[in-house]
Symmetry: C2
């Protein structure tokens, strides 16, 4: 049975704003055994799935995204906030609670037929992840899996993305 990673997550009240219980992964990252176990569990989720590109969502999605890409012998692709990527980009706007945000991927990062895993540390309302799926598809790639370290299931992020294979290692079913 895989090790329980939830015990490594620290919960912090009222961050970044009052009323939010923040799930802090830095306490997991700093424990070598937990870091390695997390990587192994993420890799286990990909068993049997052909993947040749991994997209990591800025910035905590870069942490395990790159490690997973390396282990799968896949290319690693950055999904970044606007203005950070230097070459020609494709961009996708998405809805936040108040207002809009946007993410970008280099146009030459994904090719037609690429089998893509999208990775981020957290699945909350799913806006960013859904935007990343659209970006990959605009560029001709196929999203074969989305993986997350932590899922806040009570925010129903997966509802937005029913047609995808969505996996997460640690799930919180309620705010507390």
């Amino acid at each position: 049975m895989p090790a329980d990673l939830k015990k490594y997550i620290r919960s912090i009240r009222d961050f970044p704003i009052k009323g939010v219980l923040f799930r802090d992964i830095t306490t997991l990252l700093k424990e070598p055994q937990a870091l390695n176990e997390t990587l192994n569990q993420l890799l286990h989720l990909t068993k049997g799935t052909v993947i040749n590109k991994v997209v990591g969502i800025e910035s905590r999605g870069f942490i395990f995204g790159a490690m997973v890409a390396n282990e799968l012998k896949a290319g690693f692709i950055l999904a970044r906030k606007p203005g950070k990527l230097p070459a020609e980009t494709e961009s996708q706007t998405y809805q936040l609670e108040y207002g809009l945000d946007k993410i970008e991927i280099h146009k030459d990062a994904i090719s037609t037929g690429d089998k893509v895993l999208i990775h981020d540390d957290l699945l909350a309302t799913g806006g960013t992840a859904e935007a990343a799926c659209k970006l990959v598809e605009k560029l001709g790639g196929e999203v074969v899996q989305l993986s997350f370290l932590v899922e806040l299931a009570f925010l129903n992020g997966r509802e937005k993305m029913r047609r995808y294979d969505i996996k997460s290692l640690i799930t919180y079913d309620s705010e507390d």
Copy 2:
């Protein structure tokens, strides 16, 4: 002889501002062999050095920082821009060309006696890296190595940090 990684770096004129030649690592990251070779070369630099924590500087420093930490069985620590880390932090201000910037580390991320590798993708003027060294030392850690994927040697970043072991994989001796 190690593979030449420089050929995977793309140079982009006038990014982020006019007159700057930007060294883009995304073209290296997306090639699986180059991604793996970079990791191996970074690990090779650490041979013979005892390291139990790796600090990755936001955000591209997270990419190889986490991979190196995992391979060394070290803990991975995030150095982030202000307001991003949820628990109690130590912070360090540093000089930019115009104005000041700041980075932070969780106070509980480094303990007295920790042997720390600081990693970032780019050594330019060295302001951020020097600030990261000060943070580690404020918390009682010892900086045993700094490693970079790319060094812009003509900006003399290492001059600021003469007393440290500074290593980089790819060096540019002039702007062009």
